[in-house]
């Protein structure tokens, strides 16, 4: 077994509950030492997949290998993985040290070594001095750290986390995102996390598998997932996006163009290798739009810098605005009647005053911003 081999191999795994396939023929490899995230809406099968790795559900068909070993017929208590549960599942009748030491006690580790490892684990999750505390005297965040320590103390090959941050408030969640990443760097264990929160996934993951209806919709790094979504589901689920239907009117190795009835003509500075005249979709992120005051011709000139005249340019009326502090989000009704969302960073304190409701506005976007989606 080399270090390059994946730590977890999922091969054609299907899980049916009655007639419904919760997980449908999924194959993916999870690399040694990575922070892998299974991202998807609720009910997409991501938790089922995680529970199959842990051994709490058995695949209807297919194979799961952990560190090269087939897990078929191996119960949860014999697998080299540990899990942090969504409810944390800290044992309420044991104190923190007893909780963290439980697995070691079951494994028959001696008292002295156990105490030492429990202390190390508690210090790893920054709970030094909490050993005698009882779970009902702790906050949700602290209980989660107990659950983390309890799993990490077992030195698993893979740590599984089921919606680890969903029960925490926003500030604590942001802090724990960083801490989990740091922790993973520190211990070097492969983390596999399930979440429905795209921010969580983007900020922590080394790679993300987006799951939709039991299938992998896309497997990519966070930035690839965001900037180069493979299909409409991923584009829409990860981040906010405008999607327009159109026809592919030009497709060459170094350029392509799509005619969208809703948005106008869109020019791209790369090819898309789709059939000519095909129905495609153009995805355009709100933050990739530049807004201008109309009549000055600035939008037209800016668009013309990297696209032919008449491309990558639109006009409309502001119908909705939400000021979010760092950015302002605009809902604009284009002259075609279609709605589009655009955001604008508030680089100076008075930027939000530039536009208001019912103002006419022009916009342009760069030739490398739109993504053409074939499915």
């Amino acid at each position: 077994m080399t270090d390059h081999a994946p730590i977890i191999e999922i091969r054609n795994v299907t899980k049916r509950f009655g007639k419904v396939a919760a997980v449908d023929d999924v194959s993916l490899d999870i690399r040694r030492g990575e922070f892998f995230v299974l991202l998807g809406p609720s009910g997409c099968g991501k938790t089922t997949l995680l529970r199959m790795i842990a051994g709490f559900e058995l695949p209807t068909s297919g194979q799961i290998l952990i560190d090269g070993q087939d897990m078929a017929g191996i119960p949860p208590n014999k697998r080299p993985v540990n899990m942090v549960f969504q409810s944390y599942a800290v044992f309420p009748h044991m104190n923190v040290a007893e909780n963290v030491g439980y697995g070691l006690k079951i494994a028959g580790v001696g008292r002295a070594e156990r105490d030492e490892r429990v202390r190390e684990a508690l210090s790893l999750v920054k709970l030094d001095g909490f050993a005698e505390r009882r779970p009902d005297q702790m906050s949700g965040g602290q209980r989660q750290r107990v659950a983390l320590a309890r799993s990490l103390v077992m030195r698993p090959k893979v740590l599984l986390l089921d919606e680890p941050l969903s029960a925490l408030d926003a500030k604590l969640r942001a802090q724990m995102q960083f801490e989990l990443s740091d922790l993973q760097d520190q211990v070097g264990i492969t983390f596999v996390t399930v979440t429905h929160d795209q921010d969580e996934a983007l900020s922590m993951a080394s790679r993300i598998a987006v799951i939709s209806k039991g299938e992998v919709a896309q497997l990519a790094s966070p930035s690839d997932l965001y900037e180069f979504p493979a299909n409409r589901f991923v584009a829409d689920f990860v981040g906010s996006v405008n999607i327009f239907e159109g026809k592919l009117i030009l497709d060459e190795p170094d350029k392509a163009a799509v005619d969208c009835p809703g948005l106008g003509k869109v020019y791209l500075n790369h090819g898309v290798t789709g059939p000519h005249g095909a129905d495609v979709w153009v995805a355009l992120r709100p933050e990739k739009m530049y807004l201008h005051v109309p009549g000055e011709g600035k939008a037209v000139r800016a668009a013309a810098q990297d696209a032919p005249e008449g491309y990558n340019f639109a006009r409309g009326v502001i119908k909705g605005m939400s000021y979010l502090g760092d950015i302002t989000l605009f809902e604009i009704r284009l002259d075609s009647g279609a709605m589009i969302r655009a955001s604008r960073p508030n680089l100076s304190r008075h930027d939000q005053e530039d536009f208001t409701w019912d103002d006419r506005v022009s916009m342009h976007w760069r030739a490398d911003s739109p993504v053409v989606l074939l499915g």
Binding site: P76, V81, P92, H93, Y102, G103, I106, A147, M154
Partner: protein
């Protein structure tokens, strides 16, 4: 000390109104006056329990020396102890089975398990009488084996109560805790012992209390299943009362009351300490 008019009464402070205090007092009196009279008359210096004739403790001494009363008391406590232990085991296992597993006829089992609670005691009593005489249950065994029939009958009507209490507690169990234990290496039995049992402990304590007191004061079913020499305290008291209530019965009853109250207090205290630490998940 002025009782009222210190501060305005808050909307939910009902206990600060006079009529509410009076009502509560009346209810308490209604509930406990007979018991108080029973206890008071155990100190009555008279052969007949009608008129107060002065204080004495001689009937406690008399009860103490009454072998018949002693025998009945020991029988009652022995039966209650066995019935409690077996009801606890059978009842909690039944509760776990119904909560945990799916099996054929589960609905039927679920429905019939609490039947002994619903069926009138007199019917159960007659049923046991007929059953034990039909199968020819051996009589004349040495103590404590001569209590076997009564113990079996008591287990039958006690364990559904245990099952009921334990099941209510199981409904609040977070299954992820059991999974967490297994995830950390625990086998089926270890997870049961280390996670599930501690969770249902308060229910086990109250179930045991329930079974013990139910068994201790049962008259009807015991009456039908008892044979010569197996009189329990309630059955004996019944037979004695036919000849008139004497203060030594009062004395023995008072001791029994104090015993059960003390036992309950101890159990509740034990359970309370555990429950405080164990109910949050």
């Amino acid at each position: 000390m002025p009782l009222f008019a210190r501060t305005a009464r808050a909307p939910l402070e009902y206990t600060r109104t006079l009529w509410m205090r009076g009502w509560v007092g009346a209810v308490m009196l209604f509930l406990y006056l007979p018991l108080i009279v029973l206890m008071a008359f155990s100190f009555n210096d008279s052969k007949r329990n009608v008129v107060w004739r002065g204080f004495t403790t001689k009937y406690y001494a008399k009860a103490w020396e009454n072998d018949q009363l002693w025998g009945a008391m020991v029988n009652s406590l022995t039966i209650a102890a066995f019935a409690t232990i077996f009801s606890l085991i059978i009842g909690s296992l039944a509760a776990v089975m119904l909560w945990r597993f799916r099996f054929p006829l589960k609905g039927a089992v679920d429905g019939t398990i609490s039947l002994p609670i619903i069926v009138p005691e007199i019917c159960l009593g007659v049923a046991f009488l007929v059953f034990f005489s039909t199968i020819g249950w051996p009589t004349g065994l040495v103590w404590p084996f001569n209590l076997g029939a009564i113990i079996i009958a008591h287990i039958t009507f006690c364990f559904p109560f245990v099952a009921m209490v334990v099941r209510a507690r199981l409904a609040t169990f977070n299954r992820e805790q059991e999974e967490a234990a297994k995830d950390l290496g625990a086998g089926e039995w270890q997870a049961f012992r280390d996670v599930l049992i501690p969770h249902i402990k308060p229910a086990l304590v109250s179930g045991a209390l329930l079974a013990f007191t139910l068994s201790l004061d049962d008259f009807v079913i015991t009456f039908f299943t008892s044979t010569p020499g197996t009189d329990t305290f309630p059955v004996l008291v019944y037979s004695l009362v036919k000849r008139g209530v004497t203060p030594d019965i009062n004395a023995a009853s008072t001791i029994l009351i104090l015993l059960t109250v003390a036992l309950t207090a101890v159990a509740l205290k034990l359970q309370g300490a555990k429950a405080l630490a164990g109910t949050h998940s």
